[in-house]
Structures are given as structure tokens and as C-alpha cells.
């Protein structure tokens, strides 16, 4: 853990430096335009200073975003509607529920595809097709239909989030469950192991590296799904609502702060999955 502090700081440092450069470059035209409209000439230092403090920058400077994030997190009680902690929690709960459903579904489908030829041939093409349906387009319909069935609140969001996250798990698990080599399979054949036993004792353990790579992608997808689902769910609370409402009013800094909050949340979730991966693989004697 400690060993990664310096590298992360270095990379972040480089990114922040590039970011500042880009902020100056991208915000300068507006500063110049405004100066021209006001009929004044800006010196270079004035120009740079202006690009750092604009209210609607094309690209907010890192410190502006950090400040937005900071006040969003600590500026008020966590129960406040302006608190990013509160919005983050709303999104997180939908994400986790969606991830649980999605990962479970992905694994279950992968298992049935690997175990049954009929499933393999009929299901896979349609699982793929399902992912090409633009979720943002049908999310409102899903919400409407579910609402008319009396399902509201967390569940519709979780379903949409699950819809995005089951696919990476499905693809990865199908591959992983098929990863055992011929000899490993033959061994079980000589024991006349049942399909379930083959699954439990060989295919599942062998699929672990694939599973975790997919779970990392899936949990990030879950978060995106939860955020997407927050828009048609009435755009009330959650990071998605925060993002979009920021965008209606051109509050660039609020957008970026919410964006960063979402990204931090995702990085944290992915890191947790990564940690789990380390623990599990070590327990299985596969981490060398």
C-alpha cells in the first residue's frame, strides 16, 4: 500500500500540471472575448489569472474543482440537499444493489451457458443484442412501467444498473469457466463427476482471475448505470441528478465536483474489488 503512494502522487501531479495548462489554454478565449467586449487589453499574467477564477470555465482549474468538492462534502451537514455525501450515498446504495443483481445474474447466465449447449446457442446472441439497446433511451420506459407495477425507489435504479453490469460479468465468466485445460477436465471425467461438481471443483476456481477482472469493470458499470437511472427516476437526488442539474444551469464547477465524486466513488469500489481479489487469490494459493 505505502509503496503506491509516491507513484500515485507523481501521476496525479503530472495530471494536475497538464490540467492547469489545459485550463489556461481552454479558458483563455473567453477571457479575451470578455476583455474585447469590455474594450480592454489583458496582459499575460492577467489573462492567466482570469482563466483560474472564471465562473463558467470551459475547463475549471483543479483548485476550483477541489474547492467545489470540498464544500460539497464538508460545507454542510450530510443530510443537507447540497451535500455530496448524501447524494453519493443515494447513488452508492443503488450501485451496490445493482451490482449484486448484475453480478449474480451474469454468473448465473454464464454458468447456464457453459453447462447447457441450448443456452449457449440461444442466449448469447441475445445477451449481446440486449447491450446494444441504448439504456438512456429505454430507462424512462422501464421506470414508467415499473412504477405502474408499483415498484419505485431503489429497485428500478438497481435494475438499470444491473442491466449494464451483468454483461461484463457474463462475457468474462463464460471465458473463465471455459479456461480449464483438457487434462483438468479429463481428470474429472475419469471420476465421472457431475456437471455441478465440475463447476464447483474446477470451473469456478479456474475462472477466478477472469471473474475479478470482470467484476472490476462491472462495478464501474453499475455506478454508471445507477447514475443514468437517476435521471428519469425523477432527477431528484443522487450524483446523477446533481450532474444534470448542474448542467442545466451551466454550473460547470458543480458538474465537475459531482463528476469527481462519482469517480472517487468508483475508484474506491474498484479498489475494494481489487483487494478482495488479492485476498481470494492468495487464499486459493494462486497469487505467487
Amino acid at each position: 500500500m505505502m509503496r503506491s503512494v509516491l507513484p500515485v502522487l507523481t501521476v496525479v501531479g503530472v495530471i494536475v500540471a497538464l490540467w492547469y495548462g489545459a485550463a489556461v489554454w481552454m479558458n483563455a478565449p473567453w477571457a479575451r472575448d470578455q476583455a474585447a467586449r469590455a474594450g480592454v487589453e489583458l496582459s499575460l499574467s492577467e489573462l492567466v489569472a482570469d482563466t483560474m477564477v472564471q465562473e463558467r470555465p470551459v475547463l475549471p482549474a483543479p483548485h476550483q474543482v477541489a474547492e467545489g468538492l470540498w464544500t460539497g462534502v464538508t460545507g454542510q451537514k450530510v443530510t443537507s440537499k447540497r451535500s455530496l455525501v448524501r447524494h453519493g450515498w443515494v447513488t452508492l446504495s443503488a450501485t451496490l444493489a445493482g451490482f449484486a443483481i448484475g453480478a449474480g445474474l451474469g454468473i448465473a447466465l454464464a454458468v447456464s451457458i457453459v453447462q447447457s449447449r441450448a443456452m449457449d446457442l440461444s442466449l448469447m446472441p441475445w445477451a449481446i443484442a440486449s447491450q446494444t439497446v441504448p439504456i438512456l433511451a429505454i430507462a424512462p420506459m422501464v421506470i414508467v412501467v415499473l412504477a405502474s407495477l408499483g415498484i419505485k425507489g431503489l429497485i428500478p435504479k438497481a435494475i438499470i444498473s444491473a442491466y449494464l453490469s451483468f454483461f461484463p460479468v457474463l462475457v468474462g465468466m463464460v471465458k473463465g469457466l471455459r479456461a480449464p485445460d483438457a487434462m483438468q477436465l479429463d481428470l474429472l471425467k475419469t471420476y465421472n463427476a457431475s456437471g455441478i461438481q465440475g463447476l464447483w471443483k474446477l470451473r469456478l476456481p479456474a475462472s477466478m482471475p477472469y471473474l475479478f477482472a470482470s467484476l472490476k469493470v462491472a462495478i464501474a458499470a453499475s455506478l454508471v448505470g445507477a447514475i443514468v437511472a437517476e435521471l428519469p427516476a425523477g432527477a431528484t437526488s443522487g450524483l446523477g441528478a446533481r450532474l444534470l442539474s448542474g448542467s442545466y444551469y451551466g454550473q460547470t464547477i458543480q458538474i465537475w465536483a459531482a463528476l469527481m465524486a462519482a469517480a472517487i466513488l468508483a475508484a474506491g469500489l474498484v479498489a475494494i474489488v481489487g483487494l478482495l481479489e488479492k485476498v481470494v487469490l492468495r487464499k486459493m494459493g494462486m497469487a505467487r
Binding site: M183, Q184, D186, L187, L188, K189, T190, Y191, N192, A193, Q197, K201, L202, P205, A206, M208, M284, G285, M286, R288
Partner: protein
């Protein structure tokens, strides 16, 4: 029931051809062989002559493209479903996510042995192959020969009717090998199993077997089947008897013949 009189392995005109991208490979061609129950049959022959392929056919891991193959009077597949086989593969093939003990326990779990019985058997076979104290290691923490022994232990841990062993002692030194040969004979005498055994060592084949099958390659054919005249009771010293040396000689000639046409 007539099943009990049926031979353990009965192959009639068995052929197997692999289709590969650059043409067919004739791995087995017109193999005829009958192995009685309780026989110890060794397969010997140059590398690539089809020994492994034949063993795999018997265990229903491969299916002959032609000919008839019956095991204990049943089809090979049926015999497999009845868990008639213990198979030691040519490579150890241990599952990397299981400890050595876990690997040996695998067939016991699958066949539903009770937990204490599992523990008892694992300990027993670990001792048999001289791996006591290594039960909690992972495969990659073992040397090549130790992995090979673990895979032997795995096949011995449950009581299969037919034991198929593909060069099980290839990676072991003479002394361990001698010991395991003796142990194997004891096991065989005690249980009356039928054993199919691939080896490259002529003395080993002669010492162990009641029947030695000599094969030759491309396409894999049986060139000689030698019924051993040695008694069932075999101390290590038997290897110095003239009978032993004579049989060895015949096997070596058979092997030479297999190579000669190249």
C-alpha cells in the same frame, strides 16, 4: 451374471485418427487386445506410438474412430460412468488452487466419501508416496517428482476397479521407484485390481506385469504381446533370474523392431 466373466478390457480392430490442420494423424491402427480381470498389463513403445491414446480410449476420454472397445463388458463410457477408473496422467495435472492434500481429496469429495474417511485416506496415500508433511503445500511449491507422486496418490486414494497409469514413475529416482513398484505390486495383490501401466523402462515393465504390450508408431500398432511366466509373488531379486532377463530381451527386440523401419 455374465458381466463377471467379461474381460476387463477388450479391444477389437480399434483405430483412431486425429484430424489436424495439416492432415490426419493415425494414432492407433487395428489394435486387438484382451486384458483379463486382475491382469497387470504394461504398454511399452517409442514416444508417440499411441500408448497414451489407447489408455485414453479405455477411459472413454477419447473415442475410437473405428473398432470395438469394451471395458468390464460395458462400453467404455458406461464403465466411466460407473467410476471404474483411477487414472494417473502423464503430466501431474494438479489443480493449482488446491493444496496437495486438497488435490488428493478431490476424487473423494466427488465420490461422496465421509469427511473422516477422506482425512484418513489422504494421510494414508500421502505416506504411501512419501509426501507426509507436504499436504498443506501448493503444487508449485513441490518439485517435479513430488508433483508426480501427488498425482499417483490422488489416483490411489479411492478404490477404482481399473487403475490406468501413464508413465507414473518417469520422474522418480531408482530407489523411490523400486519402493513404489513394490508397493504397487502389494496393492495389486491385495485388491485384485486390473492395472494398465505405460512405462519406458523395460525392467519395470517386466518386473510388474503379467502381460506386456509392445507397440510401434505411425500408425500405432501392437507388435507383440508377451505373457509373463514370472510368478505373481515377486521379490526385487527376481530381476536377476534368467527368466526375467529373457523376457526383457524379448521386449527389447520388440522395441527395436518398432524403431527399425524408420
Amino acid at each position: 451374471m455374465s458381466l463377471h466373466e467379461a474381460p476387463a478390457i477388450e479391444a477389437k480392430e480399434v483405430s483412431l485418427t486425429f484430424e489436424t490442420a495439416d492432415g490426419p494423424v493415425h494414432a492407433l491402427s487395428d489394435v486387438n487386445l484382451t486384458v483379463a480381470r486382475g491382469d497387470f498389463v504394461s504398454f511399452i513403445g517409442p514416444s508417440g506410438c499411441g500408448k497414451t491414446t489407447f489408455l485414453r480410449c479405455v477411459a472413454a476420454l477419447e473415442h475410437p474412430t473405428e473398432g470395438l472397445l469394451r471395458v468390464n463388458g460395458l462400453s467404455a463410457d458406461e464403465a466411466r460412468r460407473r467410476r471404474a477408473f483411477g487414472y494417473v496422467f502423464q503430466a501431474a495435472g494438479l489443480y493449482p488452487w488446491r493444496t496437495i492434500a486438497g488435490n488428493i481429496r478431490l476424487p473423494l469429495e466427488i465420490m461422496g466419501f465421509p469427511r473422516e474417511e477422506q482425512d484418513r485416506r489422504v494421510e494414508e496415500v500421502l505416506e504411501l508416496v512419501d509426501l507426509k508433511g507436504f499436504g498443506r503445500k501448493y503444487p508449485w511449491q513441490l518439485s517435479g517428482g513430488m508433483q508426480q507422486r501427488a498425482s499417483i496418490a490422488r489416483a490411489l486414494s479411492f478404490d477404482a476397479d481399473i487403475l490406468l497409469m501413464d508413465e507414473p514413475f518417469g520422474a522418480l529416482d531408482e530407489i523411490v521407484r523400486d519402493r513404489l513398484n513394490e508397493e504397487l505390486l502389494k496393492l495389486w495383490a491385495r485388491t485384485g485390481k486390473t492395472i494398465g501401466f505405460v512405462t519406458h523402462s523395460i525392467p519395470e515393465a517386466v518386473y510388474l506385469s503379467t502381460k506386456i504390450v509392445v507397440m510401434s508408431p505411425r500408425p500405432g500398432r501392437i507388435t507383440d504381446v508377451i505373457e509373463s511366466s514370472l510368478p505373481r509373488e515377486r521379490p526385487l531379486e527376481i530381476r536377476d533370474t534368467p527368466e526375467f532377463i529373457e523376457i526383457s530381451h524379448r521386449v527389447r527386440e520388440g522395441l527395436r523392431a518398432g524403431h527399425s523401419y524408420e
